[in-house]
Symmetry: C2
Subunit: 397 residues, 2 copies
């Protein structure tokens, strides 16, 4: 009567594993600034809640496995604003972007297969690959080159007979890097040449700064059969708790397979889809002030943290994360210490240790991922606590 190997293999979320330590700090009366998790404080559009309040049915019934047709149409219309033509049939609604990752992985890989992913990468890809028995082959990127991709030949050298897909996230979680059109085209070329799928997590599409613009893999002509996009409303409409995402693909075989996965779990939540339909009806300029707000926060974060010349980070081009290298030996220990031993005027800060965002052993030990999801004064204070904590932490050891 043992746990399965996969249950032992799957890592704890580095974003969430310190939750119990944070709760203990709160129980002691310490306030915790959460920079560990991409939970925006931007209000969810009131239209979302209004849509749900107006639900007219007496029975909250199962919906279609691929999602409500009205929501799939609303998403298709949304992509139309970016001149990306899609039909509702090319969209399957998932329970969060998380399920979109799982569905895409399971559709294109079997246990033992490989997926090439630039690292650092969104930590939950580790979780899904452990569950799917898939090996992540990392393309290491680094702060010096802005976490942009290396020469395509370096990526090509990682392709083996077991490689099934190249997977990216742009704008990137956890680095904030926005891959350029030419980087994306180079990946498309590799996918074509080596008969691979190209998967992109594009949930931060709207969040690009200073003219950096997002190029979607859906814009790659001639690769329609190979391209799978993972999407979500969590960040777009600040509705993380809704658990509404999507898989987007123009390959009918892939969509047929994903539909079978979708049927096995019956349907995504109904009410939250209705809220999402209302959110997608918002005009695209809804994002302008939000983008401005995030850019302001990004600048405060960078300005505040770089006051310590030993903190290394680069200004992110998109999303709302930054990977920062701290002058500590073990960011996991530091992050825990900040919660269980540090406080200043009754406050401390929680960050996500970096190692969990890498699959290469030993990498990320000095890094932390910081989400700039708090309003400006709180964010500034949280960054100051982080710096103060580093000093005390290094003195005590």
């Amino acid at each position: 009567m043992n746990l399965s190997q996969r249950a032992r293999d799957i890592q704890e979320s580095p974003i969430r594993k310190l939750a119990a330590v944070a709760n203990a700090a709160k129980a002691r009366g310490t306030s915790v600034y959460h920079l560990n998790i991409g939970q925006p404080d931007i209000p969810t559009p009131p239209e979302f809640f209004a849509g749900i309040r107006d639900f007219p049915e007496p029975v909250l019934a199962y919906g279609p496995s691929n999602g409500l047709p009205e929501l799939r149409q609303a998403m298709a219309d949304y992509f139309g604003r970016f001149d990306i033509p899609l039909t509702p049939d090319q969209i399957i609604i998932t329970t969060g972007g998380s399920e979109a990752v799982a569905f895409a992985m399971n559709a294109v890989t079997d246990p033992g297969d490989e997926v090439i992913i630039p690292e650092p990468f969104y930590t939950n890809y580790n979780g899904y690959s452990a569950l799917s028995g898939v090996r992540i082959v990392p393309v290491t990127t680094n702060a010096e080159s802005g976490y942009h991709l290396p020469d395509p030949r370096k990526i090509e050298a990682l392709i083996t007979p077991r490689t099934r897909a190249i997977m990216i996230c742009s704008p990137n979680n956890p680095t904030g890097t926005v891959f350029s059109e030419s980087e994306i085209r180079a990946l498309g070329e590799l996918a074509r040449r080596h008969d691979l799928f190209l998967i992109a997590d594009e949930v931060y599409k709207e969040f690009t700064y200073e003219g950096a613009s997002h190029f979607s893999i859906l814009q790659l002509a001639g690769l329609e059969d190979r391209v799978i996009v993972l999407d979500s409303i969590s960040k777009r409409y600040s509705a993380c708790g809704a658990r509404i995402g999507a898989v987007i693909c123009r390959n009918p075989q892939i969509m047929g397979a994903i539909m079978k996965f979708a049927q096995a779990r019956l349907c995504p939540p109904t009410l939250e889809q209705i809220g999402a339909i209302a959110a997608y009806a918002l005009p695209q300029d809804y994002f302008a002030s939000i983008r401005e707000e995030y850019q302001k926060r990004r600048d405060i974060l960078v300005d505040t943290l770089t006051a310590n010349p030993e903190v290394m980070l680069r200004k992110p081009e998109g999303a709302f994360y930054v990977m920062a290298t701290l002058p500590v030996k073990d960011s996991d220990d530091y992050a825990r210490w900040m919660l269980d031993s540090f406080s200043h005027q009754g406050e401390t800060v929680m960050v996500a240790p970096g190692a969990g965002f890498y699959s290469s052993p030993g990498r990320g030990k000095q890094e932390v991922r910081i989400a700039y999801v708090l309003e400006a004064p709180k964010l500034k204070r949280a960054c100051e606590l982080l710096l103060r904590g580093i000093e005390e932490y290094n003195q005590k050891s």
Copy 2:
């Protein structure tokens, strides 16, 4: 660039695969009575919707990965009504009972492992086992013995070194059988003797008729470490679209593993959990009239269908399903024909073909699963259409 083997292996849901054919029938103007899916027409408690309408937060944020503490407490209180003591730590909220199945399977099995399940069984177990790479070893039960379990020695004979668990559903979907206390105790004894987990899907707990009473595997003393219960509010509170379920287990190692799976998908939907908290506050006598209503429907179904002496079924003891053996050679073909070729006064009926509820090849070809989830007059009419369809179907061939 091929589909994965698992994508090719996973079956289409026999409950949902005819959805497109049904939609085509509706597009032609034919009304379709849905006996194919366990979607009750009982109103969702107004308290559920009211709880959601009163959501006071401006941001729909991520919740805890294991679910809202208030919901876990409400579920623990609910089990207390049955003298089953549980703490909130022994409950992890899932996105529907479907996710509970996946989490439990992944926690106790690796690819190639075996789980023993009485067949016919809830068809989605096939889906999850295909995704998990797990082999379902069926214990065939039959209508003659009321789909009750065979002698435990027959089950014991199926145990191999790869067997990790015995899994049941009681009250049963698709047969309506309620396993007796002594059947459950015998399975517990097998689990103890062969060092296995015992998993039970108990989502139909409330729905037992004529004094049949549900015995939970959580009531087995001394097996606390081995017992995992899968639960859901979908049927209990007629809230299938909410996607709120739970895994319940007193083994901290299992719960630790499932917590890691839960973190990888972040959290279950927040608003629907708030609705569920309100539903669980209803007194247990809320179920009395619902149970009575289902029992009435069951009797109408049995009375109407047995008017044709070639239709074989037994009166179910619980849940709201029956497996009926029809005088047709291929129930898959019959079910499809009912949608694409049959109508009477502009109406037809949709049932779920039986083969998908078995893993033994060739079984279930004459059976269909019928869900008695429509109010009495509609159910009667639907059953009459089913009988009329059989006659026409057999005449045309």
